[in-house]
Assembly symmetry: D4
Homo-oligomer: 249 residues x 8
């Protein structure tokens, strides 16, 4: 239950459209909602203005089903990230109303068209084919959180003319998410081309000295472009969440 | 020379207040301005919307003086960061118009009162006395870039009631910078209390397993609060720069 | 054979209830008991006051069966940790008297109800669903060692109000075990809320910069709460063992 | 102001010995006490049952003097750790009532004889001459917190007979602090000899592969003795604080 | 072909027992022997005085068979290390004259009884059941290289009395190999009990902060016992080879 | 003594210009030349085609003087790298014929004008003012080894238009040396702009997550441009040496 | 499409052999060629003078087929690296014109005999059987890029006489690629024997302290031979690409 | 007091040369000897057969003087390692009978000529001038422990012909100590040339990727020569001690 829905509920009571008892029932789930396996922090919607996003890894099918079903009782959409195809199949067998994006590995329970509440466009820029799953996760999450998203892919620093060909698109964005593995240099170059906040996402793509994404992570943290901040390796969701918060300011 | 100053210049020409030749002279410094030791990227102001900030370490007094003087010829304010007191004294002996903040180790050449162009308040939150220099740098830079800043200091996670006593202040900010060394847990707790973007700055404060700030850095990158992004260790300037960009959206 | 059982044996001899020869037979297993694969340190019970706990990983089914059976001949209960379900099934097929806890992955041979010998309550606090196996191991071991245990789960630092809602429970404990992955900040916050020893258990939950639990480990070691000590990553057993020792003081 | 002092104050009011207004004055410093440079968490004494200990490094002489003086107004003793001799001299020049221990690098403002409130003895065991400063810090802090302390020094694992010669002393302790650099093996050996909690303190003593204490730290975390917990490198204070908390249970 | 066999050959020629042409044929394989996949350094036997030992991992069954067969043509025994059971089965199907030790994972082609050429006993000491495969490899290799070996297992530092019970055996050895995972403290304790060279073998046994054997490795390198040298993690073969060289001095 | 000088010597003998005895005297210094502190590998000139370069750090003034003087007796020029100004002053006091470059920290004993033997131009490209000393070392060494050098400085990836403005210069080079600290992204961008070998030199410039140059090093090793190879951190000399070898092919 | 093919095309137009319209069609693919999954940088051929090489890992069979087919439409050969046998089988089922090298794991679409355009020989030197796949990749790529290649295998530093036996072959090469795992010492020794550029390729061969190739990587970066540069772990392709560029100078 | 001196003492009693009371006085110092700052393990001489060696760093002049003086009362020679010149001067001012070796940084109190008790020669081999202090320490300690020592210096792997020129000397040694920084490859090459145990000593010589000696350490641990064992970085003393133990077998 997010801030808007709560305000809407309270205004319905104010207008006499909703009975105080019914409103109470809905709010009674707050401040948190205990399920057998998780104490859902539904107040976070209130505190942070956005819906619950469930991190899939380490959760069983049964746990995911339980959490999604519990959120459904509050009228809340649910977004489950990092869901492998076989898990998605099993969850959808139980709760068929969902929509699964196999590239982004994201499972969505909510309206097919999310209304746009972000003020501008979020650009998601990615260096190589191999980084696509993380970029796709970022794009999918940003869209589900109510933002217009432009995805610009396969524009690496070793072919800088391809990136420069898209400079208008980059400069038109209000926030940028730049996804890169290997040496992680793309956020520095993009950061130098725009005057907006750039959120860098290192990926675990690479081998040897990429150390599972650490090389890209360190490169982004030491970027010479001063409009770059960084999230954890492969954390497309986190980048999208912050970009969405910024885009609603 | 930032975007506003260039637009102002062009409008002066438009209005007939400034002669095209004079305007040309001023613009001629662009796209970059060569000094003997540095090719100043004065276009960055145009591309990124903010003035040149000079990173002090590794530069000699002569180099700092040269750069500040070059910027002065374009009418640009200059902000030099990480200036130790003895260096500041020597630069001020050459260019006495500056203002030195000894806690933030920041040297400023420009108007005493910078006009506020940011839309909201930037909160700078810090865990301990030892983190103060980094927090002070972040606050000083944010102010010089035209933002209203609130500094909340010495509110560590091991005394969480102190933090909760300031929750109104935290929630009133449009962007938050959270500075912490040791285990770097403060951004997670603050991130859970607000629905705004939080920029986490790990500091090199600590000993032993803090590994010069790496423990805090890793902690912030793996934060369970999904509204947190991270900059390099001790990078108060970078955090302030991004916060300022966000605050102008 | 632990200290109590030895004392009891000696007092039985003192009272004439047990024949010296029989007592000798029992004690003859000391100071250690050789099986084909392990020289069991049964004196450790005497020296450290607690029963033998067998670390499961790296041992074959045959080795576990052999050790449990050997301990059974001394009348000693046995606790085997980190036992995967398929291993447990095979051991139970040989020695059906055991009790397997699939969440905690602990296999127990001994009385169904262990008598409470600890003086107070051990609180086991955990940040997320994914940390539950480690927390469950800690709780199961602590109970089998004779302690009253309270398990408080899913109270992360990014939703600090959930933690504060349980502050009475926390402050009522005599010792606390706090289990957390990711940034490992929970022990710092809990440590600041209580005046009792806190044993922090980092978990390998997380990805990317969590480095298999190293981020949480470093965070806990550099905790700003000075009542926190740390055990190895995922070492729920070790935390429970020390908590139990403290709780018997 | 610790718990005992507050209870005592309230009982004085109860008995009519102290005027409610005066008591209020004293309590008014709570829950925290702002000085220009630090918001002292004087409630921590209430929450954690022990006095404020000030971590010296990174604080100026002026800041230390200010904090000690502020605590003095509440009648609280103050213990400052990691104070180098020249800093101590300067603080003592301002506040001459203190007592400086040059080996432990600890500065104490309080009664010469602290009354013993711990229930048993804390043994502080150390491997080599070079580890002595950390062991001395642990011993000094433990004593100032009201504990009987036995210091057993220079008993390394490569001369295990020296350690065994002191096994009675080890087994007589209620809690043990074991300080070791290099390979950090001493806590494992000591842990195997006693049935009490052992707090291991790695030191930064060593060179090369000791990696500034990391080798000892990792060794202690992976100890095969299951009654060992670990604190940060060189953190004699932290070990003493936890040992004192345990000793008061 | 080792030094002894070459000398023997030359003496046979000297004595007229062997025809120079035949001797030439045998020596013609030197200085190295090319097989399709490997240039065998058969001179190493001459230079280092011991037979070729083949490191199994990364080699196909075909490659192992080829190398063993090539050595067989020179009358040389062959020892293949780190051979998993399924590989061993396949090699033995091709070359059935071998002898496979499943615990040590060593495959031997040569005489059932190797004559003892080492001057004293090599003691192989190990801390836990889990370290046994590495210790068994060390013992098997040392025996095959012509040494008398004593294997002392399951004597960890946390039960130091078990180790002390075997001190005579330890002191009777001419060289010692000490195998340990976890904190790797055993070589320090053993090193302090004897006046002979101790070769420490860290194992990858452990979890979390054991970092795949790095904790034990660092611990052994920083050992306070000055008669300890170290080989690579799990390198039972290397330890045995050096011990054998020393034992032949 | 390099290959050319040796050939020249032999041809002089061939032509009768030089007496065989004298030639022998000169060659007699070969294959190496013992000084009290170093066995100079003067054959390396023969084997590798270039003069001896002396790595300054860790050598005393006396040692440097001794080596330079010994080379002088063979008619060989000498290049000493990483010479701090005070050391240079002392060496020059003894051997005044040298030429010291304070930015490159290089001391040269040889002809003022080295004849150009490299076939094309070596471009030395650098990202920031702080990287200049390493770039200057590379440029100075390359020049002294007989190459035409172009130094392009202060062209970082966050201002990619500055780099593109110099693309002709980059593409005109036969070999490129790219020097960068921080995230080390410059070689990737330069590598994508040219079809020549690029030698990347990470520098130790940066702080925090730059880890003394490791971030740049890892970034360069994982570069997505496939014409990049890497040398050690700050190793301007090594890069110049390889570039010179390539430029003579 | 590489530089030669473009020049040839333009000259055909010049000579009237090709119609401008047809030429335009061919060039129209430039500067890049979008396929559904990748924006192929076919200009890189123009900028860097060599054909597109596709890095196999992380790409699906469908993606590899799509890219190879797209390149085929431009008449370009394609080289796919790191292709496991099962993937190769599937790609070849779709596009049977390819040639798969199972040791080098390289899939080639192009002429069976590539014409030699490199000026000299590239020597590929390898230390052990286990390093062969990486060395084979380097050799295969270098050959496909138009170079004469000599492969010298199984010449490790611990049998230095084997290496010296091949010194003529080494010194005859124009560029050398040296592939080594474990301690990575081979490039240093080879580097000392030749006066040509040596490209060192660390491999992930080894165990324990080899840290997945990091030990070899660090060893090569700190090589005392100053003609050595380094590429990423297992990056046989990268080494071959740079060697080929050098060999065409 | 070492084993020989004790045996000699006991035999003097046996022969009647020494009074039992006097002998008792001498032995009474055993098993250890307490000084105010250190419990000297004089039994170690008995257990390990060699005299006490004092590790200098971290000890004050007063402590060194005290320990040396205490040993002197037992008639024991003393060897203090890692003594910087200024410390040596101060100790010698108090105890002038010592002999200081400034290169090896070793201070010796004992007979000028130590009688040779080792059976063969210990070769100390070193790669570069910068490694000399560690090699000199190893040589000095080995000599003081009664061994014949050959020091072969400045024979690096990049000039392998220099090493081969000394192969007779290498093969004549009974034990070898090989000291190397940078990539640490020398022990592998030396190990391949001899059939004796090689003790490798990594040094902290190098910069950048040498990581303070870690690169050399890892290289030596993963050496492909199987007669190599390793000691800690810069641990010349430890290598000499083990070599001496081996040389007395």
């Amino acid at each position: 239950m997010n801030r808007d829905r709560i305000l809407e509920l309270l205004r319905s009571v104010e207008r006499g459209d909703v009975d105080a008892n019914d409103a109470f029932e809905k709010l009674a789930h707050y401040p948190f909602l205990d399920t057998p396996h998780a104490r859902l922090d539904t107040h976070r919607g209130l505190r942070q203005g956005q819906a619950e996003v469930i991190f899939g890894p380490g959760k069983t099918v049964a746990q995911i089903v339980e959490i999604v079903a519990a959120l459904a009782t509050t009228g809340e959409p649910a977004l489950v990230t990092r869901v492998e195809p076989d898990i998605a199949d099993q969850v959808l067998a139980e709760l068929p109303a969902g929509d699964y994006d196999a590239v982004a590995r994201v499972l969505w329970y909510g309206p097919a068209e999310v209304s746009i509440t972000g003020k501008g466009t979020i650009a998601v820029v990615t260096a190589g084919t191999a980084d696509l799953p993380v970029a796709a996760e970022a794009a999918a999450v940003a869209r589900r959180l109510g933002n217009k998203v432009e995805l610009l892919q396969d524009v690496g620093v070793a072919g800088v003319h391809r990136l420069l060909a898209s400079v208008e698109l980059l400069r038109a964005a209000r926030v940028l998410i730049v996804v890169a593995g290997m040496e992680g240099a793309l956020p520095s170059v993009v950061g130098g081309l725009v005057d907006k906040p750039v959120i860098a996402v290192p990926t675990s793509v690479g081998y040897g000295a990429s150390l599972g994404g650490l090389a890209a992570l360190l490169g982004m943290l030491t970027s010479c472009a001063s409009n770059v901040t960084v999230v954890n390796i492969d954390n497309g969701f986190g980048a999208a969440n912050v970009a969405s918060l910024i885009n609603r300011l």
